[in-house]
């Protein structure tokens, strides 16, 4: 990655990127509510609701239409974000990242339409769910890359020890992403729970390895310590939520309609998965920003508080 530190901080752009990321998180919640309430096809026409933008807001239509309205809003926010990045950013890769985010949200809209028009085929619905998380991570990354921390002069340290922390973060990121795909495929009836359970074991091991390595090797480095703490907290919460979501689905299976406890646990589990993906990505970015593999640095004592 190009560790370009030339651009000046654009606090307006950064705040706007954070706002877009937060709006996207709300959109993830709205989308998860649609699935958990089995409301995905309550508005069978797309993109409008029977040619209107004001459908009767009853039953499942409340969830489905709200999701589309929030999605359209996030689409507009992303257009502005991409345009702003292209206009204001000196780093060419950031301009491309903005366009990638724009492409992602357009693809999401198309997938959303396809899932309605094709009556929710599992592959399309799972792709829609997965791309949602990827898009969220992209916007979070844009927020991070426009932050004052990223743009400041950060002393670099050696990525000592085996396995290297940088490698661990990449493996963990890949595992979390794959686990999200498995979760989306299960949630949208592509296949059963077993692959997702196996994925949970692998993700847990990798998250503990990564967070453990960060804590042991860089205990005095605040950003790395924070990442480790966040990873530990999120994986613990997510495992509990996963167990709760599974129990609630079994419990709710014989009820004639979605029950509140099942909806709550499955939605929170889904969006926590998105947070875990974003946090793992941030951890990877922080380690890549701060650590260099196998190099001997001129000032090896500049490790702890200056890195904050």
């Amino acid at each position: 990655m190009d560790m370009d530190t030339a651009p000046n901080l654009n606090s307006g752009l950064h705040r706007y990127a954070v706002f877009t990321a937060c709006s996207t998180f709300l959109l993830l919640i709205a989308g998860a509510l649609v699935t958990s309430n089995d409301a995905g096809l309550s508005v069978p026409t797309w993109p409008l609701a029977w040619g209107s933008v004001t459908p009767p807001m009853v039953g499942g239509i409340v969830y489905e239409w709200s999701h589309r309205v929030i999605a359209a809003s996030v689409g507009f926010l992303t257009i502005i974000l991409a345009g702003w990045l292209c206009w204001a950013e000196k780093r060419s890769w950031m301009r491309w990242l903005g366009l990638a985010a724009l492409g992602g949200v357009i693809a999401q809209g198309i997938l959303g339409g396809l899932t309605v028009r094709m009556y929710q085929p599992p592959a399309v619905s799972a792709a829609h769910a997965t791309l949602a998380q990827l898009f969220f991570s992209t916007v979070v990354a844009i927020s991070f890359f426009t932050s004052s921390w990223w743009l400041s002069n950060i002393p670099e340290m050696e990525d000592a020890g085996s396995p290297r922390v940088r490698s661990l973060t990449i493996w963990t990121l890949a595992a979390v992403f794959l686990q999200l795909i498995l979760g989306a495929a299960f949630r949208h009836k592509g296949f059963g729970i077993i692959p997702h359970l196996i994925g949970a074991v692998i993700v847990t091991i990798l998250v503990f390895m990564t967070a453990g390595a960060l804590k042991r090797r860089y205990s005095n480095v605040q950003p790395l310590r924070k990442c480790a703490r966040l990873l530990h907290m999120l994986i613990g919460v997510q495992l509990l939520l996963g167990a709760g979501a599974w129990w609630s689905r079994v419990y709710a299976a014989r009820f004639p309609q979605p029950v509140a406890i099942m909806v709550t646990l499955t939605v929170v589990h889904t969006v926590t998965g998105a947070l875990l993906l974003a946090t793992t990505l941030m951890t990877a970015l922080v380690t890549y920003r701060m650590l260099r593999p196998g190099s001997v640095l001129a000032d090896s004592s500049a490790t702890s508080e200056q890195a904050a």
Partner: protein, 266 residues
Amino acid sequence: MKKSKLGIYSLAIGAFALAITGCGGKNETSEAPAPAASAAASKTLDPATAGEVTGSVKLDGAAPKMRTIIMAAEPACTKGHTGPVTSEEVVTGDGGALANVVVYVKSGLDGYSFPVPSTPVKIDQQGCQYHPHVAGVQVGQTIEVVNNDQTTHNIHPIPKENREWNESQPPGAAPIDKNFAREEVAIPVKCNVHPWMKAYMAVLSNPYYQVTQKDGKFDLKNLPPGTYTLVAWHELYGPSEQSVTVGPKETKAVTFTFKATAPAGD
């Protein structure tokens, strides 16, 4: 200059994307009508020799307690209900009689052809429930869906052998007429607006079928003499088969019994 061109392009892409999303189209059209009765069929029904299969369907054991449906969030749904509404997965009558079972002739009618009835099968949405909960219909026969509620419903059959469709029906809308081209027992139907609304449509290729009511009884009349596979299908307990031979002008009695503790598919 280069930066601002890129910015203009990205805004243009965004605007274009918004424009094409406005190009909505109508949803799936209804399924193609079933093929007409074959003219090459060699057998015809002789009313002078027609027989009959009568019987009943029972549930052995205590029926599971049906859960209450919570409709409080929608006053249009609670209107007309005087007490709690429960799901209709297992409905029993006196003496363990089991309702909502589709009893039909699965095989034994090779060579016979049957005209498609012109009378439609009506599915009514009232009190945010489908009436009837289980309906039988012949291949190609019209199903007429009406909405007598003051709220929007959508009718969404989820077949495996037939074409899936999903249509909305606001209050006062015209009936929706559809048919299914292939035999399938049974097609689940749901409403995505009101997730507790469920029904089943059994699509049969012959007219020898009946859906039991609370008395659990069925009566298949005018059967040609022969040996048949008779099936009783229930949404929770699945299918149960029996072989029955009907002689000329003979009436045979058949009883189907489902065990309450062994639901199908679990």
